[in-house]
Symmetry: D2
Subunit: 451 residues, 4 copies
């Protein structure tokens, strides 16, 4: 039987199958840094409360610091026999600080310890993700700026709708990513770090002793340091049984992934031979083991497919929390793998999408060919008639029939004679009509967007 943080009351050893089934060290060792910071803060609380003498606190801190350093140097090796990272660090501390280490448990519960470490880990990671999103936004904005004069066919229902600026198309994704970052930042702010919930009922230590400034502990948090201060617990039963923050994050990451899956789908379609609107750089493509000609945008397909995993992770935790009685139940341990997995997926996606966007090329010639499609200007023809006094709905019907005539008889509207045009409406003047089939004229005629 492995060394555990509990055991006195038990008459039998834990079945090895149970140890294997229940342990979390294989994934929660990611929390080592956060657990250690939490332990250092807990040492300070115990010192303030008189449970530790100054010298004891110093000795424990020394032990914790040395483990912390090994974590930060990527030299931390969790013992795969430990039940979880908290036990593992406790064991390592005992090896360093001896019996004194067992005082660290005072007024502390794993329920609270796990919640604290996970929240801290989320705060750290959310900060990083916000940077990743911001960098992808920059890459898209640069591409928009670089191609700012380019006009493309705008699509609804995958059909030619009206010409739009490529920069406006790209900015649509920037809008989505800005919303994503607003969400991530909001979640970050709403996660409050607290201690003192105990297992569920609080501890004998005065609440005021739990107010601790984050600065001074471990790494430099810069402008965000205030966000990492430790607060008093408002409700101890809620503190140990709340996983709202995990679900909020999994949902926000699902939405980032959903946006990137849409972008990927657009680019996959645009990079088909039939569209040919974009070239994905060789460095972001892969080939086939059978077909030597293949250049596949696998990265984009993976981003599209990962939406499934991000959604699945969200469902996983929502389902786990469904109907769970208060307070802490072991089910809640299962929040971690989905959370960590979604974090990693989105971090990876942001990086590869940034690289892909930076090297993405738009095929001007091919796009301009499609801009010749007269259908793209049908709405402008409607406005032309409306501006000459027609009711919109009538003009819409009339142009619909004109388009149908043009397709049925394979005559471009541009090439129709004025008298042909007048059969549809006597408001048509050929030289005015011809000018409308110009993408620049079309996009510049739209005035309703905030610039």
């Amino acid at each position: 039987m492995t060394k555990k943080l509990w055991g006195g009351r038990f008459g039998k050893k834990t079945d090895p199958l149970v140890e294997e089934f229940a342990k979390s060290i294989q994934y929660d060792s990611k929390l080592a840094e956060c657990d250690l910071l939490g332990s250092m803060i807990h040492v300070e609380i115990l010192r303030r409360a008189g449970y530790l003498k100054n010298a004891e606190a110093a000795k424990l801190n020394k032990g914790l610091s040395s483990i912390y350093k090994s974590v930060m140097a990527c030299a931390y090796k969790p013992d795969s026999a430990s039940e979880d990272v908290h036990t593992d660090i406790q064991n390592k501390l005992e090896a360093k600080a001896g019996a004194l280490a067992s005082k660290l448990h005072t007024a502390r519960s794993r329920n609270d310890q796990v919640a604290f470490s996970t929240k801290l880990y989320c705060k750290f990671t959310l900060l990083e993700l916000e940077i990743g999103v911001a960098e992808l936004i920059s890459a898209i904005n640069e591409s928009a700026e670089k191609n700012k004069a380019m006009i493309i066919p705008g699509f609804t229902h995958m059909q030619h709708a009206q010409p739009v600026y490529l920069k406006d198309y790209l900015s649509a994704y920037v809008e989505m990513l800005k919303r994503d970052n607003r969400r991530l930042s909001n979640i970050f702010k709403n996660i409050k770090l607290t201690m003192g919930a105990g297992a569920l009922a609080g501890t004998p230590i005065d609440a005021a002793k739990y107010l601790i400034k984050a600065s001074g502990y471990a790494k430099d948090l810069g402008a965000s340091a205030g966000e990492f201060n430790i607060n008093m617990t408002a409700n101890s039963l809620d503190a140990v049984s709340d996983r709202d923050f995990v679900i909020e994050i999994l949902n926000a990451l699902s939405m980032v992934g959903m946006h990137l899956a849409r972008f990927s789908e657009d680019l996959i379609i645009w990079s088909t031979k039939e569209f040919g609107f974009v070239d994905i750089d060789d460095a972001f493509c892969t080939g086939s083991s059978l077909m030597p000609q293949k250049k596949n945008a696998d990265v984009l397909e993976l981003v599209r497919g990962y939406a499934g995993r991000l959604y699945g992770n969200l469902v996983s935790v929502l389902t786990m929390m469904k109907g769970l009685p208060l307070t802490y139940n072991r089910d809640m341990q299962l929040d971690k793998e989905p959370l960590f997995n979604s974090f990693e997926i989105v971090e990876g996606e942001l990086k590869v999408m940034k690289g892909l966007v930076e090297t993405l090329k738009f095929n001007k010639a091919r796009i301009e060919e499609e801009l010749k499609d007269e259908a793209l200007y049908a709405t402008d023809l409607v406005y032309y008639l409306v501006n000459k006094g027609a009711a919109f709905k009538d003009a819409h019907g009339l142009i619909g029939r004109l388009v149908k005539y043009s397709l049925d008889y394979a005559i471009a509207i541009k090439d129709m004679t004025e008298s042909d045009l007048k059969k549809f409406s006597d408001k048509f003047i050929k030289r005015e009509i011809v000018r409308l089939f110009d993408p620049k004229v079309s996009v510049e005629s739209k005035k309703s967007i905030k610039r």
Copy 2:
């Protein structure tokens, strides 16, 4: 073929199967009020832009107002043959205002119209939901206040952990609901009403003309009126293809439902014959067609089960949006049924839970019986030893063995002699120990929670 907002370009009638399959009037008629408000605002925009004369605008507004009144009086009857509510209202307007009605289409697209109506509907409903959550919070707070001296066994893993105040247990749900309301309120604020996106490319009307104050339109919005003002469109492609707000709402409602499912589970278990902690009022129970003695808390079971539907609705829209190319695609019509369904479920849940909580009775006698369980005070015994100088982990092991001894030999710790106790630790003094098995002493010894 039914009358549609399009058709000129088509050589064939729509297949009736397609009409049946694609129409949304059976569910989107809920948007009638919002569509009409949008149309009145669009009339004003067209008037400002010179597309409508004052007299024309007045006539259209008169027609729209009269339909609006019928909606508000619950007298609006959508024609089930209409494709959607927007078409239905347009048809009704034509019946009132004749050919002039066809000018309303100017510079407008259903893509934008649907987005506007849905956002407005969401804003209205979110305001109502916030009130519903607040009322449930009040009901719980009242119950907490009424029973403020009551102490209950606190549970982790469904096992007796430590005594806690019932009011603290109830406040845990208040904390969850406050987070829910913060989320709903946040989503409400982030939904910006805009017009002018057209189908995807904007309209010929100057952006500034789209700035319109909500006050003056229809019902009194009170303090929130400013939140309903119309803004310029920032990106027209995003405006018609964004459903982030729907997903955010569906996730927030899933979380409300998850919290209420947890509360329900607790109450279902507490109302079993074996627990007997609570009595659910007869008015909130139902019986059995076979077993005459049954009194079942069906309401709570439905609340628990509805978590499934709320999650399913979220998955439905997330999946629908996965990999959807820009901009608008008809798939997006399928956001409405899940959205409306989740709104209705949560509205219903909040109301029945409020009634149930208001009439809920806690069985003092039965609860006090369980408070006699000595296991609940084991942690206090540990602190007792720690306060006498033991290291926490050692004290924990020692008390664990004491509990085991007590169970194995069926002797209450309270009933053990001081010499028996001293076999475990010479720190034990019987008269001090005995005092610890008091729920009030136990809960009052916890000082770490913000009061």
Copy 3:
């Protein structure tokens, strides 16, 4: 308070909010036919067991038959105040058969009654769905047969891979649909109709009396009649708390919907202006209220989007059943809306897809243009070298470099001189190479598929 199947033990009326929240008549009235058939069979069981005299049984059957006829004539009007369809039919029977109707409850529980009705409804609907799938298969097969000589570019990763027969592409969907039908048929067979579970503990009636042939009851079930016979209950606790069949169906329908969503996606892409591979018939398209030229394949987009709803319905019931204690709990009432909704969606999809496929046109000219892409034949070039003794992997690398050369220098491989070709491999003989760029030669060279 409305009339209920229970009530004696209650001291208070049910709160109207609860009645509203808990009732299911608004959706379970779909079960009327099945509930009535179940009641007629239950009458026979009661008669056999001596609980009903022959004359009583005849009178009850007369009343039930008359309600059954109104259901089959679509003249059944459920009272919206009834709790559920079972109560509603009981009330209607009382109006016809008076006090005798109250004997029908003998040895019966709604738990069992609901399970029976739902299973019967599923069996009926599964039979219909199998026909719908078979009809869609026929439509696809006809299209394949009609275009059996047509060759198209085959895609992997949305990129040109190798030429394939259109019929083989279409048959891929036939394979999926055949698997779907195998699944539906398997589920149908595994749903056993049983009676006698009571509320959870069985009834006092001998098991053998529950063996009843379906033929003779209501509508003609043809060859499937044996599948509808009533069986003894194997385990009564399981019988009332099992919803496996609902989940199996929801999953099978999700898979049908997933297949149709893939087909839809292909056709949506193929009907873009850029691909132009197919023409969707006007009767299966819709237009735009703003853009008169638009012809959108909305049907296909809805089919694609409905995958989300089908998945959501599955998640809904899976989540509802998660961690539900035995036996029946009211949560289980919430299986019906998702089940009915998924049935309806897939029934609709099968019909519109059939119509759409029957009128679908493939644009030979446009497709043939794309077949000229030399990349499609690169694998054939590899086999050419392998057949001349090259190792596959070497040949693959060599042809990869040849393709790159061809693209970089914009020279078709076909147009390269033999000496140019020999720079890559001395195995190349120009007149042999040229013949390989023929779609028919390419597809006919593949021999590995079962014909």
Copy 4:
């Protein structure tokens, strides 16, 4: 750049971010055994088709066998720089067999290779899982047999309903698990192993050459060997783009997990102090780091919580496949992690549940105490009156009132005088009534269940 199965056509190295993002070796190395078996079979096919001489085939087989042996001895070490397991094994083969290894690629595509290996892996694992389910069934059956005379209160809505045999309660779970095994076995049979699809278009090798008996390859498959024979491909486009079998498995595993989560929930509730129906063996419990008295059934909570992960894995793959165009797309690589994860979870669950059930103790005394609850016999009282000629519904109402009276006046029905009883019905005879409150009489009076 790492060594890949493709590359000639590329002008640039793959970006390292892309390699990191796209590689699957970290999880698909589980497929090594299956990939190797596939390769040995492919060698035989190439030999039959004349692409390999006998000596070449022998040499390749020798290399493959040696890698296979290292896999079976758990000595296989995948190179973490390899793109996937297929590439890794190819690289290892090249190290052994030199240039000849490159002939193995002939007429083969990773698309087909991945599908084959995954299907084979699923077949192996399904066989194992069926054994795991069968063993759990045995354990439950043994517990049922051991306690075959024990009667427990049966629950609906978590309220006392009627007495039932514990063995019947336990058998309900056996029924569920038998359905689970029927599903797993059905999926196993429907997975057909095929080769010859190529990338999507087939290969130049005659279909008949793909018919290969599994026996003779690697490990002994016993009675199931025939199920592992290689078949001809029916449709090559479907073969490389089908993941139905993965979804079927993920759904079947979700249902196993759902059943086990229900069982767990029951046992968690039954092991509360308030219920006290069962004792979970110490070896299957864990403790608390803070509260020394705690004995928590964490295993059951994890099983309950894992339902979330199993559902999430299903959602993950369903979503990934939604709207995916034919044929193979890289998204499909993401089926593996959810598949492997669900397999592992359920394998673990079956093992720990078996151990837990084997050591589970039912507390006769505590259960018998609850069997005294008169409410459990109310339905028997109804039948008593019905057997004396009352209509069921009337008897139901009457007993309901009797129960209410008994509760309101705190008088046991058993203790009421005959004259009191007669106030409710003159059919009551006290000495008959008293006999009904006997659990054995109650359960034995139910005759409707197949024994």
